[in-house]
């Protein structure tokens, strides 16, 4: 009987300590998180990313109860062409002086057959619009890795200049490796 009590005590202690270990706020920075985009047109494409971002991935063991929040400094954008970077930051596209930040706040993370579906609100270019994207999320070795590729329609955030010349859909790629 005593050994059974001891076992139960040990089991509950293990579960409790396990849950404590899994509950964590992973701080996201440009060092452990990359947000890339590829814009395209009829005769080519260009890749860009952001050098400054902050955020956190809060998780307590169960990924579907996790919360993801990322704020990106639009001014920190870099692309494979300097003059394109200046053009993208101008009022033609991101309008970085008026809308200095983009922010994503997750509302739900649902388990799917091939990873998770992250849903939330993306505020970009002064417009807040729902965004859902598939992601592979792994909690291992005391850290979290997130990997996602998806497309978003720039017009949904009011970035509409150059319609017909620049494709509406922008390929996004997100990678997080945080501890």
């Amino acid at each position: 009987m005593n050994s059974m009590k001891l076992s139960l005590l040990f089991l509950s202690a293990s579960l409790f300590s396990g849950a404590s270990l899994c509950a964590a706020d992973f701080k996201l920075t440009a060092d452990n998180t990359t947000v890339k985009f590829i814009g395209s047109k009829k005769d080519g494409k260009h890749e860009g990313s952001f050098k400054k971002l902050t955020g956190k991935f809060s998780v307590s063991g169960d990924v579907t109860k996790a919360k993801l929040e990322v704020t990106i400094a639009i001014d920190s954008m870099v692309t494979d062409a300097t003059k394109l970077t200046a053009h993208l930051k101008s009022p033609d596209f991101f309008d970085a002086k008026r809308f200095a930040e983009a922010k994503f706040v997750s509302k739900s993370i649902q388990a799917g057959t091939n990873g998770y579906l992250v849903s939330g609100d993306l505020t970009l270019h002064g417009v807040t619009h729902p965004l859902s994207f598939p992601a592979r999320i792994d909690l291992a070795d005391g850290g979290v890795t997130v990997s996602s590729q998806f497309e978003l329609n720039r017009h949904e955030w009011g970035i509409s200049y150059g319609k017909g010349n620049v494709n509406d859909l922008v390929k996004m790629s997100i990678d997080v490796k945080a501890k």
């Binding site: 260009h46 062409a81 394109l84 200046a86 930051k89 101008s90 009022p91 002086k97 008026r98 200049y161």
Partner: protein
């Protein structure tokens, strides 16, 4: 690096910016002039032509919000319409009740537009930028009005607006904003359409330039504040204030000039600040249409 715009971009610019502006500007004013000899109706027709040209180009290209209460360039379309309408009402008020009321109305409209179009966040603050924009637009408009009275208003104002608009477009494209460049070309094309008809019907179109007096300085201010380039601030300022060079022609010796002498002098006076501004922009930045 490809510094020459490819043909599809030029073609799109002609079809969706230049032609709508010019055709509506010229078409509406020509239609009004052909059905009425009333100066008042023709003036109102000119205002409608200007508003129509801007609206059609804006619709074709999606350049500006139709309505905005935001400070700064997003309100450029409604604020310009207010300036055009206010300019016409001020001119009619001056004709009906005298200079004082017309002048007060003109100052009020330009002050309101300048307050609306001054960006909220800038190193000088909203009030500081408002004061500069108001003074710039007031100086521009007043010189247009007085030059018009000096008989420059018929065909020669067209010669002033074309280099002004081209210089604005050149500086803005070198600041890497195609949207602002389109807006400068749209306004210039519309004014060209109006200017051609005004010259044919011998109308004094100076009153209609009140929209440009605030439009170009506000657009260039928007470009200076919101773009990312090495184009010096002096380029934006020189173009914004280029028509102020016409004040030289108001000095005593030149005041009596008329005809070709006056028109050529006006063109040269405006070309000088425009050429310096464009030269500075070209030296600071290159274009790459390859991206």
């Amino acid at each position: 690096m490809n510094s020459v715009p490819p043909w599809p971009i030029v073609q799109s610019m002609i079809l969706t910016v230049m032609l709508p502006g010019f055709a509506v500007g010229a078409g509406v004013l020509a239609a009004v002039c052909s059905v009425t000899r009333s100066e008042t109706r023709r003036l109102i027709g000119g205002a409608l032509a200007l508003a129509g040209g801007l609206a059609l180009g804006n619709s074709a290209r999606g350049l500006l919000p139709w309505w905005s209460l935001e400070w700064g360039w997003p309100s450029l379309f409604p604020a310009t319409l207010l300036a055009i309408g206010g300019g016409v009402i001020a001119a009619l008020t001056t004709a009906a009740t005298g200079r004082r009321r017309g002048g007060a109305l003109r100052v009020s409209v330009l002050a309101g537009c300048a307050f609306w179009l001054a960006p909220a966040e800038s190193p000088l603050g909203h009030l500081g930028v408002f004061a500069l924009l108001f003074v710039a637009s007031m100086l521009n408009w007043e010189v247009f009005r007085r030059s018009g009275a000096q008989s420059l208003g018929r065909a020669a104002l067209l010669g002033v607006v074309i280099p002004w608009g081209i210089a604005a477009a050149t500086v803005l494209i070198h600041a890497h904003s195609a949207r602002f460049c389109d807006l400068a070309i749209l306004q210039t094309s519309t004014l060209c359409g109006i200017g051609v008809i005004a010259a044919m019907w011998r109308l004094d179109s100076a009153t209609l330039f009140v929209g440009s007096a605030i439009f170009f300085p506000a657009l260039l201010l928007g470009g200076a504040v919101n773009t990312f380039s090495e184009v010096p601030t002096a380029s934006f300022i020189l173009v914004a204030l280029a028509p102020c060079a016409l004040w030289v022609l108001r000095l005593a010796p030149m005041r009596r000039w008329s005809g070709r002498t006056l028109a050529t002098s006006a063109l040269v006076a405006v070309l000088i600040p425009c050429a310096i501004a464009v030269g500075l922009a070209l030296r600071a930045e290159t274009l790459d249409f390859g991206h």
